[in-house]
């Protein structure tokens, strides 16, 4: 099925700059060395030995001193930009600004907006808005079912023609196996990955955090991990039966990772993502009842966290996604059980994972970069890479920079970040998305000094 360009971006100003003596790391391109890299007209024009290139008068020069890392920019297949209808939490501009600040060159927005993104006219208007406002390219996943109600398929074929990247009922599961099966069958007509939020509502209902010792101590109704893992297993089997392509969103527990591994072993066309907070935090972090620690799926146990890290390392889980879920201060400044689910994550993802997984040696930096860019291919998009002649999707990071998350505020319109106040090491200095400078850290001006 012919589709429109699936990623939409705002004003393009092709970057003209020379990055001199930067440490280029692109595991797919097998580069891990000091290089000079020239971006001309928004494309990677030259890649030379360190110190070999000189800046011309009409291009900006950024000195890496052999210390700053230049990475392929990250790709986030799961964000909530809250537009239309909840612009007090986030909008296309603020959300993509947050993405750029986190080193992401593209994001995929979820459809649980108000109204729900489930029709072609709405998709058209959103894409028009993105073409005006988005700092980095945005793709959209309209709803699988109308109004996310699980009763009737959205007009998937028409939505695909209008540029839908795929479909998702994120925020809610497709409760009925029969309904999901129809969507999987319909995929043969229209294509597009089905991204699934897995949760059995009969198991999770009323719960506000992971079920276990902490929920028992806090007197908060728990959500058992089987609420997710049984649905992952069910839907993997459905996808296998229909030979359909599904992507499991925000895996949170060992049992779900096992179900995905099992499905992959059978050759079923499944992929999976995991969020930084599920890799770095546990339900012990909920003890203080900070509402930024309340998200769906909930933070689970240390054993689950370890299993998720292992699954990411092994490739059972294909990529990192933030599930960036902004909520206004007054919505989160309420008792824990009343608060909406979600944490922002775009601005802290790389730094938090670098601090807590790469620095202690749990995973290699190259693997983290691979997993933070792998989401693109899962949605049939080109993977950001550092290749001559290709579009510049680049992130320049200072791996030594230490900062406190949120100390200078946020690019996001919301501040409900589960890592707020934590000391992180590794900071995004510059993001070039689709050839345009999308983010520049204030510290960058100081690099030469």
């Amino acid at each position: 099925m012919s589709v429109k360009e699936p990623l939409i971006c705002g004003r393009q100003v092709p970057a003209e700059l020379l990055l001199r003596e930067v440490h280029v790391l692109d595991p797919r391109a097998r580069i891990d060395a000091r290089r000079d890299l020239r971006v001309r007209g928004g494309q990677i024009a030259e890649l030379g030995e360190p110190g070999s290139l000189d800046a011309s008068a009409d291009e900006e020069l950024i000195e890496g001193h052999g210390r700053l890392r230049l990475l392929p920019a990250f790709f986030d297949p799961h964000v909530h930009l809250r537009t239309p209808g909840q612009e007090h939490k986030e909008d296309l501009e603020s959300g993509t600004r947050a993405a750029a600040a986190g080193g992401f060159a593209a994001v995929i927005a979820m459809p649980n907006t108000d109204p729900v993104l489930d029709s072609a006219p709405l998709l058209r208007s959103l894409r028009d808005a993105a073409a005006r406002e988005a700092r980095v390219p945005v793709g959209f996943l309209p709803a699988i079912t109308r109004g996310l109600e699980g009763e009737q398929l959205s007009e998937m074929a028409e939505l695909r023609q209008e540029g839908a990247l795929g479909f998702s009922d994120d925020g809610k599961p497709v409760r009925s196996a029969g309904m999901l099966r129809k969507a999987l069958q319909y995929q043969r007509l229209c294509g597009g990955v089905l991204a699934l939020h897995e949760e059995d509502p009969t198991l999770s209902r009323g719960g506000a955090m992971n079920e276990g010792a902490v929920s028992a101590a806090l007197g908060i109704a728990g959500i058992p991990t089987v609420a997710e893992s049984t649905m992952v297993a069910r839907d993997a089997a459905l996808a296998g039966y229909e030979d359909a392509r599904v992507h499991f969103q925000h895996l949170s527990c060992a049992a779900s990772a096992d179900a995905v591994a099992d499905a992959k072993a059978r050759g079923w066309k499944v992929s999976a993502e995991v969020c930084p907070h599920h890799l770095l935090l546990t339900d012990e972090d909920v003890r203080g009842m900070d509402t930024s620690m309340k998200m769906h799926p909930p933070l689970t146990t240390e054993a689950d966290r370890m299993a998720l890290i292992e699954a990411l390392r092994a490739g059972t889980i294909d990529c990192v996604a933030t599930d960036h879920a902004p909520h206004a201060r007054e919505e989160k400044e309420v008792p824990f059980e009343q608060a909406p689910m979600g944490s922002t994550g775009l601005e802290t993802a790389f730094a938090a994972l670098h601090t807590s997984l790469v620095l202690p040696g749990v995973i290699e930096l190259a693997l983290l970069v691979e997993r933070m860019t792998a989401g693109a291919a899962l949605f049939e998009l080109p993977t950001p890479s550092i290749a001559l002649g290709g579009p510049a999707d680049l992130t320049l990071v200072d791996l030594d920079a230490v900062w406190v998350a949120g100390e200078h505020g946020w690019e996001s319109r919301s501040e409900n970040c589960c890592f707020a106040g934590r000391q992180l090491q590794g900071r995004v200095l510059l993001t070039i998305a689709a050839g345009t400078i999308a983010h520049r850290d204030r510290a960058l001006a100081m690099v030469d000094a």
């Binding site: 079920e211 276990g212 010792a213 902490v214 929920s215 028992a216 101590a217 806090l218 007197g219 908060i220 109704a221 728990g222 058992p224 009842m289 007054e330 400044e333 309420v334 008792p335 824990f336 059980e337 009343q338």
Partner: protein, 335 residues
């Protein structure tokens, strides 16, 4: 002690101090004029987001016996129904400068949140299904009246543990006082992981005879319709405390209000083993002691060994020395 939010914040010494203070206040309740001027000029605000007759009136009575001014603010029929948030309600009411806010909400952790938003001492009178610390303190008080001390006593908490803030506070408080706690009830109503609090878990009452104290929880009727248990009848046949199950040496407790014929049979409610009305009586004196501890005690000389509250600086309070706590000034002659 700046606030009373969770039993977790209290060590044994702090619990004993409050209980001993309550024992002194009990003497006031026996006087013809049941009032002392200990908190004269202080203001206690009862902020209740849930219907409550007993707890609210017990706090009100406690505050009045200490000569404090009391304002009751119920969420129903107030600005809350117009959509005002908990935070804005607290900020608004704080303009009246209450010295203490007694807070009951259906939300776990609400008391702790409120303690960050205002300068008043916060007394948690129930936060969702999490805790009800003054209930636990009055239960400790009642048991000490009966048993002298609680060390090594076996206490069984029976019933709907999952939805009970009383259960959670009492598991903690009884254990702090040296008791061994067992929770028993239908598996659907015993939360996974509760044993991490240090208690034993049983799904039948077969070994109930080993208990020194049987603490029955209220079985709320709506739990039946939510199919937590198959029927009231089946619940009662497996978990009701009745004359057949209760042995004569055991003490029976219940936080009230009782569903006769459900969690307790009528005959045990009326038996001399039941201390249910003593618990209600203890409610007033223990809440007097808590208010006194927070509003008057905190200014006294510091002493090590008090539990620091989660949010406060854990300022310790005076340990009673055996002298009457009732100030001499105007004693027994209020108004």
């Amino acid at each position: 002690m700046k606030h009373l939010i969770s039993i977790e914040d209290l060590d044994r010494g702090a619990i004993e101090r409050i209980v001993m203070q309550a024992e002194r206040f009990a003497e006031v309740s026996d006087r013809e004029i049941k009032k002392v001027p200990a908190l004269r000029g202080r203001m206690v605000l009862n902020l209740f987001y849930e219907a409550s007759t007993r707890t609210r009136s017990s706090f009100e009575l406690a505050a009045k016996r200490l000569s404090a001014d009391v304002v009751n603010f119920a969420a129903s029929g107030s600005s809350v129904e117009k959509g005002e948030s908990l935070k804005d309600t607290v900020l608004t009411l704080s303009a009246h400068k209450p010295d203490a806010i007694v807070l009951r909400t259906p939300w776990a952790g609400a008391a702790e949140l409120v303690s960050r938003w205002c300068s008043a001492a916060i007394v948690n009178a129930g936060d969702g299904k999490r805790e009800h610390p003054t209930q636990a303190l009055l239960d400790v008080y009642t048991l000490r009246q009966r048993l002298g001390q609680i060390d090594d006593a076996s206490i069984w908490i029976v019933g709907d543990v999952a939805h009970s803030r009383v259960a959670r506070s009492n598991i903690l408080a009884f254990q702090r006082m040296g008791a061994r706690v067992t929770v028993a009830g239908p598996p659907t109503l015993i939360p996974r992981g509760i044993q991490e609090l240090g208690c034993e878990v049983r799904y039948t009452l077969d070994e109930l005879s080993s208990a020194d104290v049987v603490y029955a929880l209220r079985m709320q009727r709506e739990r039946m319709s939510e199919t937590w248990v198959p029927s009231t009848r089946e619940y009662a046949s497996w978990y009701q405390i009745n004359a057949r199950r209760l042995t004569p040496r055991q003490i029976l407790m219940h936080p009230g209000p009782v569903n006769r014929g459900v969690e307790l049979s009528g005959e045990v409610v009326d038996s001399p083993q039941a201390v249910i009305t003593a618990q209600v009586e203890a409610g007033v004196v223990v809440r007097m002691a808590v208010l006194y501890e927070l509003l008057a005690g905190a200014r006294e000389a510091p002493l090590a060994g008090t539990g620091a509250s989660a949010t406060g600086n854990g300022r310790p309070a005076k340990v009673p020395t055996g002298t009457p706590v009732v100030p001499a000034v105007g004693a027994g002659r209020p108004g």
